[in-house]
């Protein structure tokens, strides 16, 4: 939080310059910004206030890496917004003004929405805001971690306890100082080279902050890995990654790049100084999505962060590239091997063995600096009388060091220890009670403590000494021995471990041991009971991995399992595989299954189809399937009912029915069970419905409330599921003619669509259509068309439903009309048909019908007697009736405007004004603008007439003012957006225009055309009128742009 700054840099409009006030305004100073004195001053201060021409902010310096970085802050009510500026050298006036104006804009937007909030009567929205946005107590934080069931959750984030005595490796520790000047430090060597011990030493001695994460095989799941990674970072700053964790918890996989972008953003804004993150045992990580995330992290590594990876094998990261750029510090096996001197010190100090130098030479030549081997050798030597015999045998043998020595060590243990070690070797982690269960003996806790004290390769994992593990190498040897000595005992040992873990609620481990036994029945029961429920929380790779490990034949006889797998496949985007699995589930459904299972499988089947059809934009089918699924899922299956309801709730987009019953249904879904993702989706849904109801202010407010759900502004934009937010809000802003803000949101949403694979086709359609209409409003036709082209490309690539594609084409025709390509638009309209009499209207075609109406109206202007117009009126009236019945006020207004335009063409002024008046009454309270002015000059003329009649005077005044602004900014007057010039130039006028452009004077034109100067003037006035200009240069520019010559 920024402290109150004592200096102020302010723009003085009186002096027309920036003035610096020091010491709380006591001194007024004449430092010129961007001068050498200015930068010297910046070096001295840590903060100051800025009050510029376009906004104000507090500037604050943070020192990272010895470098200064500046941030701009601004407070709105409770909310603090922060913006990164750059290093001191970047602190120019231009940059300051830019940041201040950005912060200003954000505040204005927020305040506007807050005002709207005051105007809205409290009703159902109260419930929405309370239910959706209830605060998440901090104590529930652990719920967000997939590993929260893991008793070792905290231990994984602790730096492992180092042995009290070790050989200090000062030359390596000195090299490790370079961690702080490099991006990635890679410690890559096989097991037993002392990687972890070295890092532990380094951390203990390091004066700077280090976060630690010990990885295990089950962490090779993107969600789990990223959750732990964030948890490790949160040990430094608890605010880092809070919103990312919420994302990870949702079942839909978040793109790794998004996760990393959010994380790095959090880190950039965090006050934590230089730090290193150690990822130990990274070789367990092979999943492609994790690797992508790590590559992305390295590419965008915040300046204060340094990554340290310890691994047995080189990770799939762009190492050679990092190496070339000097961003990589490497330590490999050759660097880590003990030297002769270190070997001596180790034997003497750590193992308490004072050996003659020849003996040390012998051991050294055999183990070659391999620390684990050395430790085994020392263990074999401890308490041994015949040291020289042992050494000569050892050095004379070619046997693999590990084999030789572990046998030496093992055979010297009492029988019970040997058997304890063997039996418990199947466990990745050891605890007293777990070992009791696996060995069937009591007293394991004491045994483990003794083993640790005896240095027998037992590593304590937590401070309380409740959990241990064997050193990896030793575990391998033990397992191999168990494997060859007592293979028959393996299944039983694994089964016991599985049962123990199940009893203690650790399903992941329980399933893993059941699969290892292998006890597939037990595994299947466990998976079926826990699979898609709260246990996994997005760990779909883990689930799919289990299912792959099951024999296919078994899985096929278990419809419940097949259906679960199908759902997991669907969520991870493997649609074809999901369908295949679901078919298997359907085939194997038989009646002697429990009723609940049959219901669930049937429900999942319908859900799957609802999802697939939804992602193709076939909303009609999707809603039907969702309703079917709701009939199948039992009442107590809240989670699944919520998931399906989110599909069923799109029915208003199919029917166009946005009456309050539908609204209540969505509100109920927001208040009901379901994760954050579902709630946000439903909130966006509610806002969309409200904007269809013509309640633009309420819609904007609902979007704003969704935004407040996130602590950091940016999080929402990066939230993969909610371009719905950007598009929805952008579309409302577009309607309010706040085009710059609208464009900001719309393009942001489009960026998201480009980056991610999004299921919500209707959201994508809304975004592209709205952006195209925005470009159309700016009369940037080529851009508008390219927006639609991108949509059409996307739609084909993703195999969208024809109805959706047709909507995009309809908007394209609207643009053609605006460009004056009437013939093309007519050809399109001729190929389409109006809805048949007596048949219900299809709401999904409404956009098409309304554009067809515009085409016919434009056509009618050319041939006023055109019979088509009466047909248009008929259809408009039908749509009007439908929209009125279903509370779709937005459609009502648009249809009324088109009716007015139709009557205008038919010269029925009374009817035209009646329609327009109704539209104005409805539109005024919600501030519709674009709907009117996008209809062009005829609408402007009608509005003038309405003004004369005294209808909605203020509002009409505002609309006409918007026309003027439009004319000034876009600079292309006179054009009707639907069909070139409203009144085309006559042949004579065209001739006059051509000569005018050629630079001839009025007299010269008169002479050339053999007419009087007076007639020329009349022609020119008429041309000006038609072009909507009032000077010669304007006319010339307009003629060029419209291609009238």
């Amino acid at each position: 939080m920024p402290k109150k700054a004592s200096s102020l840099l302010a723009w003085s409009s009186a002096q027309q310059t920036y003035v610096l006030f020091l010491d709380a305004g006591a001194i007024q100073c004449s430092i010129e910004p961007e001068s050498a004195v200015w930068f010297a001053w910046l070096d001295q201060v840590s903060s100051f206030a800025f009050s510029g021409q376009r906004g104000s902010a507090t500037l604050r310096k943070e020192i990272i890496h010895g470098e200064s970085y500046w941030y701009a802050y601004r407070r709105t009510g409770e909310k603090l917004t922060k913006k990164y500026i750059g290093k001191t050298a970047a602190l120019t006036i231009a940059r300051l003004e830019q940041c201040a104006s950005m912060l200003e804009a954000m505040q204005v937007c927020r305040e506007a929405l807050q005002q709207n909030e005051l105007l809205t009567p409290p009703d159902a929205e109260e419930c929405v805001s309370q239910a959706t946005f209830r605060p998440e107590p901090d104590s529930s934080r652990s719920l967000f971690y997939p590993g929260s069931h893991d008793p070792l959750f905290a231990a994984k984030l602790q730096v492992p306890r180092s042995r009290t005595q070790f050989v200090s490796r000062s030359h390596l520790l000195t090299r490790l100082q370079q961690v702080w000047t490099t991006n990635l430090t890679l410690i890559s060597a096989p097991a037993g080279f002392g990687k972890t011990t070295l890092l532990t030493q380094w951390v203990t001695k390091s004066e700077r902050t280090v976060a630690w994460l010990s990885l295990e095989p089950q962490d090779n799941d993107p969600t789990r890995f990223l959750s732990y990674l964030i948890a490790a970072l949160q040990t430094l700053d608890p605010h880092v990654g809070t919103s990312v964790l919420k994302l990870l918890r949702s079942p839909e996989p978040t793109p790794s790049e998004t996760v990393v972008a959010l994380l790095t953003n959090d880190l950039m804004h965090s006050t934590v100084g230089d730090f290193a993150l150690v990822l130990d045992d990274y070789h367990h990580i092979t999943a492609e999505r994790i690797q992508r995330a790590m590559i992305s992290l390295l590419e965008h590594l915040p300046p204060q962060m340094h990554l340290v990876i310890a691994t047995r094998a080189d990770p799939s990261l762009p190492l050679s590239c990092l190496r070339t750029h000097g961003h990589l510090l490497e330590m490999r096996a050759a660097d880590l091997r003990f030297s002769l001197e270190e070997t001596r010190l180790f034997l003497q100090n750590v193992m308490g063995l004072a050996l003659p130098i020849e003996a040390i030479h012998l051991i050294e030549s055999r183990v070659e600096g391999w620390i684990a081997g050395l430790q085994l050798a020392a263990l074999s030597l401890q308490g041994r009388a015949d040291v020289s015999t042992f050494l000569s045998n050892f050095s004379g043998s070619h046997r693999f060091v590990l084999d030789y020595l572990s046998e030496e060590v093992l055979t010297r243990q009492p029988t019970w220890v040997q058997s304890f070690l063997l039996q418990t070797s199947i466990l990745d982690r050891l605890s007293g009670p777990l070992c009791d269960a696996v060995t069937g003996q009591k007293g394991s806790e004491v045994a483990l403590e003794k083993l640790e004290q005896a240095n027998l390769f037992v590593v304590s994992l937590d401070d309380e000494q409740r959990w241990y593990r064997y050193h990896h190498l030793f575990a391998e040897v033990l397992r191999r021995q168990l494997y060859s000595l007592q293979p028959e005992s393996l299944p039983e040992l694994h089964r016991r471990a599985s049962v123990w873990y199940e009893k203690h609620g650790q399903f992941v481990e329980a399933v893993n041991h059941a699969l290892a036994a292998p006890d597939f029945e037990q595994a299947v029961c466990l998976i079926e009971s826990c699979a898609l429920s709260e246990i996994l929380q997005g760990q779909l790779s883990t689930l799919l991995g289990w299912l792959d490990a099951l024999p296919n034949a078994l899985a096929q006889t278990r419809p419940f399992l097949c259906a679960q797998q199908a759902i997991a496949l669907l969520i991870t985007g493997q649609v074809d595989a999901a369908l295949l699995r679901m078919q298997e589930a359907e085939r194997s459904l038989h009646l002697d299954l429990p009723v609940e299972q049959i219901q669930m499988v049937r429900g999942w089947m319908a859900l799957l189809h609802a999802g697939i059809t939804y992602s193709k934009g076939d909303l009609r089918q999707s809603v039907m399937y969702a309703q079917e699924a709701l009939r199948w899922f039992p009442e107590n299956e809240e989670h699944w009912r919520a998931a399906v309801t989110s599909f069923a709730n799109y029915s208003y987009l199919v029917s166009g029915d946005v009456r309050s019953a539908m609204e209540q249904q969505i509100v109920a879904a927001i208040c009901g069970p379901g994760n954050l993702y579902t709630q946000l989706r439903q909130t966006a849904n509610l806002a969309r419905l409200q904007s269809m109801q013509g309640r633009l202010h309420q819609a904007a407010l609902t979007y704003a409330q969704a935004e407040q759900r996130f602590p950091e502004h940016i999080s929402l934009y990066a939230f993969a599921g909610t371009p719905a937010y950007s598009f929805g809000l952008g579309d409302v802003l577009r309607e309010w003619n706040r085009l710059d803000e609208a464009e900001y949101h719309l393009t942001e949403g489009i960026e998201l669509v480009r980056q991610t694979w999004l299921m919500d086709t209707h959201v994508i359609l809304l975004g592209y259509v709205s952006l195209a209409r925005l470009k159309l409003a700016r009369r940037a036709f080529a851009e508008a068309l390219s927006v639609l082209e991108e949509f059409s490309h996307l739609a084909q690539e993703r195999d969208y439903n024809a109805v959706f594609i047709a909507q995009g084409v309809a908007i394209q025709m609207q643009i053609e009309l605006a460009q004056g390509n009437l013939a093309r638009a007519i050809r399109w309209a001729d190929e389409r048909t109006w809805p048949l009499e007596g048949e219900p209207l299809n709401y999904l075609c409404e956009r098409e019908y309304l554009v067809m109406a515009r085409v016919r109206i434009a056509q009618g202007r050319k041939e006023p007697k055109c019979a088509l117009l009466h047909e248009v009126l008929g259809v408009l009236d039908r749509i009007l009736k439908d929209a009125e019945t279903k509370s779709r006020k937005s459609s009502v207004i648009e249809v009324l405007l088109l009716r007015a335009l139709t009557f205008a063409v038919l010269d029925d002024r009374t009817q035209a004004l009646l329609s327009l008046d109704r539209a104005l009454q409805l539109a005024e309270p919600e501030g519709y603008i674009r709907l009117f002015i996008d209809e062009g000059k005829v609408m402007e003329a009608l509005l003038h007439q309405a003004q004369a009649h005294g209808s909605a005077v203020d509002y009409v005044g505002a609309l006409l003012a918007a026309y003027c602004t439009q004319r000034e900014t876009v600079g292309l007057p006179g054009m009707s957006p639907s069909g070139g010039l409203i009144e085309p130039l006559t042949e004579r006028e065209r001739e006059v225009l051509r000569l005018l452009v050629a630079g001839l004077s009025n007299a010269a034109i008169a002479e050339k055309l053999v007419i009087t100067v007076g007639t020329v003037k009349r022609h020119i006035n008429s041309i000006y009128g038609k072009l909507g200009v009032n000077s010669r240069p304007q006319a010339i520019r307009c003629a060029h742009m419209l291609g009238l010559l």
Binding site: H398, L402, L473, R480
Partner: protein, 78 residues
């Protein structure tokens, strides 16, 4: 299709490791090295064996694919 592989590692491994390494036969080359040889289902299985070798911190010397019964070698050093 099964492939016949021959993997050479430094040091003499105990024969009991055979089971651990997917049943590959363990023999010695007389120069203090171990040869693991036998059939493996595919490259993924070979990868698994190589990982286990790496996990034991064994030094890998060579991996060969034996394509015919006469022991003709296809791929040279690993």
């Amino acid at each position: 299709m099964m492939n016949h592989y021959e993997i050479r590692v430094k040091g003499q491994l105990d024969p009991q490791w055979s089971e651990w390494f997917e049943g590959l036969t363990i023999s010695y080359d007389g120069e203090g090295n171990t040869i693991l040889h036998g059939l493996l289902v595919d490259q993924a299985a070979l990868q698994g064996v190589l990982m286990k070798i790496h996990d034991l911190a064994l030094t890998l010397l060579a991996v060969n694919t034996i394509i015919s019964s006469r022991g003709q070698q296809e791929s040279p050093e690993a």
